[in-house]
Symmetry: C2
Subunit: 337 residues, 2 copies
């Protein structure tokens, strides 16, 4: 930091060079950990860096090196933590390769033009991970690798696809409940494509099994309140049920409250299964039985896939990866009485 006109200006590589009595190039070498630098000079440079509190400008670095080692990830909104495990999985892999992840939600400045992807591309990310629902994003002529996580189809041409098999998820949930003796299993759904897939699978499977289909909350938001309201509807319908399959854990949590209000006990009276293995399902006193959507694994494999594009041979054709979900049996399900 140098003082000019009483204003702090950020130190540049030249300031460091001068302070250390070397050339800017030598400083650059030290910065990048080049082994060809003599210990004495290296130390001098490091001292100068510390003294001046120098931090290299990534803008300049990126520009000069034509690399950013940065991956962009687009999510719908921070409040919906579904992305959380995926992010952890991505980081696990990318950290090892010294890639950075830039997380962005769909919020964009109304004044500025361009959506989340535009913003990311402008920042020269080397690839994008899309964890958003209908992806009405500007992905036209996207010249970097893209992978869509969590959806089984996309309009992003050339993008890889990775998702966990929702059909199979519904299947293992229903198998589990049926094995426990349940016959009247209601489904709590919600808005959106993911809930839609699970619903479709539920309907199909119940049909195959010749069991009654009861779907509620299709037009509700996929959160606790939605689950609560859907359950109220279910109860009001007067239809008999001994188990509930909720399209996600928040909906399941809402269902539990609604049931509690009418004196129904979980799992004593009603068994409940959620989906996603969200934090709430673990923290919740109830310890929800749920489907692990393998977010961590999705993240890991998405990262590997991206690395293949980035480091390996360029033009691979779009790949589609399907991960098998798994049932996490906890305490919200029990044998039918």
């Amino acid at each position: 930091m140098t003082q000019i006109d009483g204003v702090n200006k950020k130190a540049t590589i030249y300031d460091v060079a001068e302070a250390a009595g070397v050339s800017k190039s030598l400083v650059s070498l030290v910065l990048r950990g080049d082994s060809a630098v003599s210990p004495a000079k290296r130390e001098a440079v490091q001292k100068a860096i510390k003294k001046l509190n120098y931090r290299p400008s990534r803008n300049a670095q990126n520009l000069a090196s034509n690399r950013t080692k940065t991956i962009g990830m687009v999510i719908t909104e921070y409040e919906n933590l579904a992305y959380s495990n995926v992010l952890i999985g991505l980081r696990e892999v990318f950290d090892k390769q010294d890639y950075q992840i830039l997380l962005t939600d769909l919020h964009t400045n109304p004044n500025l033009h361009g959506d989340a992807v535009d913003a990311l591309v402008s920042m020269d990310v080397e690839a994008v991970v899309l964890f958003v629902e209908p992806a009405n994003l500007n992905t036209e002529g996207l010249s970097i690798p893209a992978i869509v996580v969590g959806a089984r189809e996309t309009t992003v041409k050339g993008a890889d696809l990775i998702y966990s098999n929702d059909y199979q998820g519904s299947q293992i949930v229903l198998e589990h409940l049926i094995k426990l003796g349940h016959k009247n299993i209601a489904h709590l759904s919600g808005l959106g494509g993911i809930a839609g897939n699970r619903r479709k699978a539920y309907v199909e499977i119940m049909q195959e099994q010749g069991m009654p289909r009861m779907v509620y909350g299709e037009s509700q938001k996929t959160n606790q309140l939605g689950g609560y309201l859907a359950t109220k509807e279910l109860i009001a319908s007067g239809k008999p049920f001994t188990a509930i399959y909720a399209a996600n854990d928040y909906i399941a949590a809402g269902a539990i409250s609604a049931l509690a209000e009418v004196g129904k006990n979980v799992p004593g009276d009603i068994s409940i299964v959620g989906y996603d293995n969200a934090p709430i399902s673990r923290e919740y006193a109830m310890k929800l039985t749920t489907v692990d959507d393998m977010g961590l694994e999705l993240g890991r494999q998405a990262a590997e896939q991206i690395l293949k594009h980035l480091e390996g041979n360029k033009s691979q054709k779009p790949k589609q990866i399907v991960i098998e979900p798994s049932l996490v049996i906890r305490k919200s399900t029990a044998k039918k009485k």
Copy 2:
């Protein structure tokens, strides 16, 4: 996008200029919405931009203009949504001024050196918003404005401070409960400085009022499970209580489950107040009475304060802003029977 050696290369301003038959400078003017450009050329440029799918390089822009119009925000972890309202408040103000917000958690690549602040400074953010607990970050010689949100003290020298008054928060909670006739009010606490402040206030106020102090869960995490376990302890202690003041809404939610397990009804038997007005307190079927920590307002005012530094006269001395919290009365509290 031009095809060179079969590899897509991003279009630059020169490519656009050539395609539009103008100079790179003219393209730059169009990009920045300069009014001195003739309609004809403007249109030609815009057509070329679209055709080439050109997106300006922010790295180059930032470097050349010596501005990034970007503010960095540091949070502890994405999973803890406490920051959410603050972010919304920040955006509300910064959007209008065309500033972008870069959100970062404390996760840093173990291979790369530098913490979250280093990373942000390297990216040339113009100011930082710190929404992290003890802030053991490298803020030495930070040459950009910093504001610490949510803490009443900080080691970041020169930083502004903005927080809502936790003491007052505890005060209005307890006033509310006392007014409802409660005398035996337990407090559910948890790890961390914020919970600590609320706890301290609780202890002080109860002491003043000559009422029994019951604090549980000090060593628990501040989530649902923590609240659940703390409540179990409270119940096991055998001490009489008719109301609970929980250090946050998740703890309160956990408490409700624990109470339900022993047949205690909220608010019939026990009144509960949470803190933070977190999403769960609204969505939750229970409709939790809680303290709004004014996150939105914190965000707004933090943004205003930063703008004062950035646009106004430079060297202001550190300012400390305290926001008054407010009670949101919903359905988890009732008159003592």
